[in-house]
């Protein structure tokens, strides 16, 4: 790609035109999300201005168009008129992320999901009087809503309602974060391997969030080429499910072996062809591929024509945490891909933003033009930069649900990246779950979908 960053991103935006609303209709949120050419290089003063305007607009909208959130704000005595400046942002009422998994069964689930929604809900026709979760999800899907779900290790799924604009914003910000951070390595002709469920055939956040790869790249291959339903994820994560659960887990075991073999063949073929490649998915799949290559005494030398994007958590099959630096060193040894082209990301189903490692120091950069990160103490007061605490955020880009979330993650925010010159705050890459919070992580979901026993050892 020639012509500098501006030309690259213009080319990218042309490919992603379907995701961007017409400029004439831009709200302050759209200005903050779609306006900056590089989400990680917005000058601080400009980012502060865009962020405040976007969050104020978004907060007012949720306050006025979401009865549930309005009630919560009333309980906190906080209204749009109280949001005067950056100092008031930490007072915006936030929803604990566990709220998204505290839903009732049957028809109440449909009401719960509908009432979480901000704005004019399309008419939802549920085909049964006492529907199961999949029937409710289908009804919302038919009405044009995207209900992404994700699961903790308990098997209790989290559901987040997204309307089309919110879903498109998720896809765009996700893809643009990756492209901006990997500049100048994005090339639409690169071959991409998504080591995950097919984004077009699942509402599982781990897969769904990657749909935009099909727009940003010409050649995309998918590792788990079958539909993955909420029931299957529940069975893989939480056990039970009777015969269907057993079948789901059995398919998962076969899936792991097939996936590792397929990635290996794909790598061989791309090396022969001298093509550019991008491998995207949870780290443990790539770790399993590298295990296999090492056992067979083989290595590749892709060098600068390859990129690796990981996300979703760093647990292996053995439940241990993979040290990130070791992982990158292995990638370099086994696949010949430089560590700086091996980037990890941090996102969650309740957010549209995606924080990405910088190649220079592998700190997690925040798209700070529309996303306010906070680290709070036990009494939910903001902690100074550099201290560890509960991660919370105000994500202005979520239009269909209040994206003001108190997470169960333990994180540390730094004022500036110690390793690169990008402005704005960064997260220490060692984000973990707080004690007493359910473990989650999209990698863990994919791991359990693929590896319900000693998977990864017998491939």
């Amino acid at each position: 790609m020639s012509g500098g960053y501006e030309a690259t991103i213009a080319a990218f935006d042309r490919r992603m035109a379907g995701y961007i609303p017409p400029r004439s209709a831009w709200t302050p949120v759209d200005e903050a999300v779609y306006g900056p050419p590089d989400p990680f290089r917005v000058p601080e003063a400009e980012a502060r201005r865009l962020r405040l305007a976007a969050i104020r607009y978004s907060f007012t909208r949720h306050y006025e168009q979401n009865r549930f959130y309005h009630r919560l704000c009333s309980e906190h005595g906080f209204a749009p008129r109280h949001l005067r400046g950056p100092g008031d942002l930490a007072r915006v009422p936030m929803l604990p992320d566990r709220l998204f998994r505290e839903y009732p069964p049957g028809r109440d689930f449909a009401l719960w999901l509908g009432n979480l929604f901000s704005g004019e809900l399309p008419r939802i026709v549920v085909a049964k009087a006492d529907p199961g979760p999949d029937a409710v999800l289908e009804a919302f899907r038919r009405a044009g809503l995207e209900i992404a779900f994700s699961s903790g290790t308990s098997g209790r799924l989290k559901f987040v309602p997204r309307d089309r604009p919110t879903f498109l914003a998720l896809q765009y910000t996700f893809m643009k974060s990756v492209v901006a951070m990997l500049y100048p390595h994005w090339d639409r002709r690169a071959h991409v391997y998504l080591m995950m469920p097919d984004p077009r055939r699942t509402a599982l956040y781990a897969g769904r969030s990657c749909e935009a790869f099909f727009s940003a790249f010409d050649q995309v291959r998918v590792g788990l080429d079958r539909a993955v339903s909420a029931g299957q994820v529940r069975a893989a994560m939480g056990g039970g499910g009777g015969v269907r659960g057993m079948i789901a887990r059995s398919l998962a075991r076969r899936g792991t072996r097939r996936l590792v073999a397929d990635v290996t063949r794909w790598l061989e073929s791309r090396e022969k062809g001298g093509e550019k490649i991008a491998l995207v998915g949870p780290p443990f799949v790539l770790a399993a591929v590298m295990d296999r290559l090492q056992r067979e005494g083989r290595a590749f030398a892709f060098g600068e024509r390859a990129m690796i994007g990981t996300g979703g958590g760093w647990k292996t099959h053995e439940g241990r945490r993979l040290p990130l630096a070791d992982f990158r060193a292995r990638v370099e040894r086994t696949l010949g891909i430089p560590g700086r082209l091996c980037l990890d990301g941090y996102g969650m189903v309740e957010s549209n933003a995606f924080m990405v490692h910088c190649p220079e120091g592998h700190y997690l950069h925040v798209p700070h033009s529309f996303f306010e990160p906070l680290v709070l103490d036990n009494d939910q007061r903001p902690l100074p930069r550099g201290e560890w605490g509960r991660f919370a955020f105000l994500d202005a880009s979520a239009a269909s649900f209040p994206g003001f979330i108190l997470t169960g993650d333990r994180a540390r925010l730094l004022e500036r990246c110690p390793a690169c010159d990008r402005p704005g705050p960064v997260l220490d890459p060692e984000v973990r779950r707080l004690d007493g919070e359910e473990a989650r992580g999209c990698a863990e979901e994919v791991r359990r979908l693929l590896a319900a026993d000693l998977g990864g050892r017998r491939e």
Binding site: D108, N115, G155, G239, G240, G245, R249, D453
Partner: protein
Amino acid sequence: MLKPWEVVGRGMLPPWSMVRANARGLLAIARILLGNLAAVRALMRQSRRWTYEPPPRGYELPEYEAGMVNRSSRKKYLRPTLYCDCRDRRITAMAQRLGAGGTSARAFAETAFDFVKRNVAFEISPLADAADVLGRGAGSCLHKISLFVALCRAAGIEARYRFFSLTMLDNYMEPEFERAPLIRKWYDAMGSFLLHGSGEARIGGEWVCADVGAEPPRQAASGLPLTRFGEDSIGLWLFPVPGTMFRSESVPLGLGWPAKFLMKRFAGTVAGFNAGILEQIEKGRRIIEAAGGEAAYDAGARRRHGATVAAQGLLEPNERIVFQRD
């Protein structure tokens, strides 16, 4: 020797959901063992590194004296059942010490709950009768429930078991899994653990939950509130697998021998698991101490966990959602 109809009447026949769960569990472990012999051997070798020294019993056993009254009877929920001989003299003596007959049913049940939850150390071991658990001062959730149920019945309070298969918070079991990787594999293969439970005592006509399994330091090690009599751990650190919950007067038949066999065959793994529990307890003690004691720790943990939004309004009727008749 109980007659067949007594076995049925006392709830000793396992329900179908449990038979199915057990069969799945055995199949899962058989598959792991047969399909991955080398890996399993390696995991077992890892576990052999661990030794486990049971902690000393944390209380004195009272002597049984003539004239001590045992208030159990032949009525349902008040009579002896499998692994729960509420008429044993050791149980009678302990119930007496805890205030049986001299205090209200609620006060006694709370005292018995506190005694079992705090003083009987959690330990994986073969099933044993409640009186033996009392003598040893250690046992699994099943042992601890049996002891609580026996004490309540000896005090004339109806008590029963509640069982289910479950999934758990990952970090809750981390120290145990770390030392017993084979159990982690089993858990992964099943997607859930086979059996857990709590006791229930009938107070004023209501069944009240008694989650005696986890000692306070174990809960503190994961940053959880310390559950009290009447409070459930469901949704806190454990999540029942839908369709597996059942309530029963007795521990079902058929659990003893498989547990004994597995614990004997995989002694190293069990020792590793138990060593992990001790480490978890030690960690929790340090956390409670640093917080300024149990009350201060619990207040803080409840504040953090109680942060869930009062979700009123999320179930209000919504005219945009229409349900069709089947």
